[in-house]
């Protein structure tokens, strides 16, 4: 078996963040979206996940986020084999992950403030404990005046920022972002990138799925390229 490529800033790290070993994925009886994928992402690392549209970037992110089960191979997250974890354990692992969806996935019936506070609410924290944190973060992302509005009135960029705020409010150890700049102009994309870089500097491992080469050229981070179901490191 070929040696698993190691990527990241901490070579002595035992690989507890994300490890994929000979992972294959296909939907129902269709062709393999991913085949024999192996890599190890270190704690505190920053990666772009790239490839042409339909190459399987979102599928790979969904594997890492445990919303898909690998057809073959083994996926380890924080040192746990996620194919064997219970639903409760999976929820606990997800609390350590922040995810930014391509389509934001904000809840339309909740205000922006409530959307951002959602990860804290589901872990049972009292509103009084996080009220200021959420408000502060919303002000930081420029949504201070929008916090009581509903997602329906937010622009694409504002929704993007709200989704990012929701992903980072719980101080995740791992941030997965699926085309986080897909709906914004280059200037906003650059700002969002800098936000992710700063999160990474604070210790969060970051994986950004994008096919925006202009964005990737702005920051020298390792790239995982998916092509024909295989992942290679650039």
């Amino acid at each position: 078996m070929p040696q698993t490529p190691v990527i990241g800033h901490a070579p002595d790290y035992d690989g507890r963040m994300i490890r994929l070993q000979n992972v294959g994925l296909r939907y129902d009886h269709g062709p393999h979206v991913l085949r024999d994928v192996s890599f190890l992402l270190k704690e505190g690392s920053f990666h772009f996940l790239t490839g042409p549209s339909g190459a399987g970037k979102t599928s790979l992110l969904r594997l890492m986020f445990m919303s898909l089960q690998a057809t073959d191979g083994k996926v380890q997250l924080f040192g746990k084999n996620i194919s064997r974890v219970s639903a409760t354990r999976r929820a606990q692992l997800r609390r350590r992950i922040g995810i930014v969806f391509q389509d934001f996935r904000l809840l339309d019936h909740l205000t922006t403030w409530e959307n951002v506070a959602l990860p804290l609410r589901v872990v049972g924290r009292r509103t009084s404990d996080y009220r200021e944190d959420v408000t502060d973060l919303l002000q930081w992302v420029g949504l201070g005046d929008r916090m009581h509005g509903y997602p329906a009135v937010l622009s694409g960029g504002e929704k993007q920022r709200a989704a990012i705020a929701r992903a980072v409010i719980g101080k995740p150890e791992l941030l997965l972002a699926d085309e986080p700049t897909g709906n914004v102009d280059p200037q906003m994309a650059r700002r969002l990138l800098r936000l992710f870089i700063e999160l990474n500097r604070l210790g969060t491992s970051v994986v950004i799925a994008t096919h925006d080469h202009q964005l990737m050229d702005q920051f020298a981070a390792p790239r995982l390229e998916i092509r024909d179901g295989n992942v290679r490191i650039l």
Binding site: F65, A87, L110, E114, P119, T127, G142
Partner: protein
């Protein structure tokens, strides 16, 4: 105003002077503020990269407005109206729909209207109404039956068969005097021939020639409930001493009344079980529908780390409220029926005689305090069924998805 996200364990730090400043130099707040620079949140134009040596973007790929090597944040901190931020950030307060609750996250994560609609509330209210009516009716009948049994148990009757050549009136007096001496018999009342005839009239009609029939005489005995006699012994001694005298302790009546009330109670219980089962099926169906219609919300909740138990709680909370709300409406309807029962009996029961007969059967038709308490229990049970059934259904739904 800026705040710092300075420490993974401490989270955001607030400046004691009222403003918010980074506590570790380069912090997330800077980046976030930079991100929101056009909103005027950033007071400091020093770049984050300059302060922390952050890997700098390749100068060749910098936007034309940023000179190579120039501080990136200088560019960002200046008010810049990008396409995404060109519109006013302050929206009309009611834009995009009305606010449901305060800003502190009080809104239900799962919207109530998507789970429990008015038609569902009405159906559950009807179910509760039927359950309360059944429970109340069974309670009333049980109460009346208990009263009958008490009355019957405190009275016994002695029948004296007419014997040829024996004066029945004299014999009746002898037996009555004998019985009056027995301890535990509080009162002895010999009933005349006319009373026996009156008792037979409902069965035989008004017959003038009834005098020609040898009708048994009756002696009513009232038992001292505090020190009742041994009726079996009394009956045996009586038959031995006075041939043709039979003591009837109404046991057959009592057992028949018990059998009837027990049957009614079982019938009522069966109806209650059916109502409960129907309520459960309705709630299961409603829960599945609401889970399906809120699939997106459930997915997001899972993605932000909600456990199945948390999600089930969100749904069951709505169903509990539904059960209480609908249960109270149904119970209120049944209380109204029981309050109006005497009047309804008057109107529908065929006049005063019919009313008195119905009252003999089920009492006044009005519930007493324990009866209303029973209706309260029905409401609690219906609400509990709604809550537990929805929880079970949500768990099954989620388990099937895992």
């Amino acid at each position: 105003m800026s705040a710092s996200y300075d420490d993974r364990s401490r989270g955001y730090a607030r400046d004691p002077h009222g403003g918010r400043e980074p506590t570790t130099g380069r912090s997330l707040s800077d980046a976030l503020a930079e991100h929101a620079g056009q909103r005027g949140h950033v007071q400091n134009s020093t770049t984050a990269d300059q302060r922390q040596g952050l890997p700098h973007p390749d100068p060749r790929t910098q936007p034309p407005s940023t000179a190579p090597g120039a501080p990136a944040a200088t560019h960002v901190a200046q008010p810049a109206a990008g396409p995404l931020d060109s519109g006013p950030l302050i929206a009309p307060a009611r834009e995009g729909g009305k606010r449901r609750k305060g800003k502190s996250g009080g809104s239900g994560i799962v919207p109530a209207e998507s789970v429990t609609g008015s038609s569902l509330t009405l159906v559950i209210a009807i179910m509760c109404f039927l359950a309360c009516l059944t429970a109340g009716a069974v309670y009333l009948i049980n109460q009346s039956a208990a009263a009958w049994t008490r009355n019957i148990a405190s009275e016994v009757t002695v029948q004296l068969q007419p014997l040829e050549g024996v004066d029945i009136d004299k014999r009746t007096t002898e037996v009555a005097l004998y019985l009056a001496r027995i301890p535990g018999i509080a009162q002895v009342t010999p009933l005349g021939a006319e009373v026996s005839q009156e008792l037979l009239e409902p069965w035989l009609g008004e017959i003038t020639a009834l005098d020609a029939i040898a009708v048994p005489r009756l002696i009513a005995l009232e038992i001292d409930r505090r020190a009742p006699p041994d009726l079996a012994e009394v009956g045996a001694n009586l038959s031995q001493r006075f041939p043709g005298a039979v003591l009837d302790d109404h046991r057959q009546w009592q057992s028949q009344i018990r059998a009837v009330t027990r049957s009614m109670a079982l019938g009522g219980l069966a109806i209650l079980i059916l109502v409960g089962a129907a309520t459960m099926l309705i709630i299961i169906s409603a829960t599945r529908a609401s889970m399906a219609s809120n699939r997106g919300i459930v997915e997001v909740l899972h993605f932000v780390g909600a456990t199945d138990r948390f999600i089930a709680r969100e749904f069951e909370r709505h169903f509990l409220h539904l059960g209480i709300r609908a249960g109270l409406v149904g119970a209120a309807g049944s209380v109204l029926v029981f309050l109006l029962m005497p009047t309804m009996m008057q109107l529908l029961g065929g006049g005063q005689i019919g009313v008195s007969e119905v009252r003999r059967l089920i009492g006044t038709g009005s519930l007493d305090l324990p009866g209303y308490f029973l209706l309260g229990i029905v409401v609690v049970v219906i609400a509990g069924i709604c809550m537990l059934t929805s929880r079970f259904s949500v768990f099954r739904f989620l388990h099937a998805r895992h």
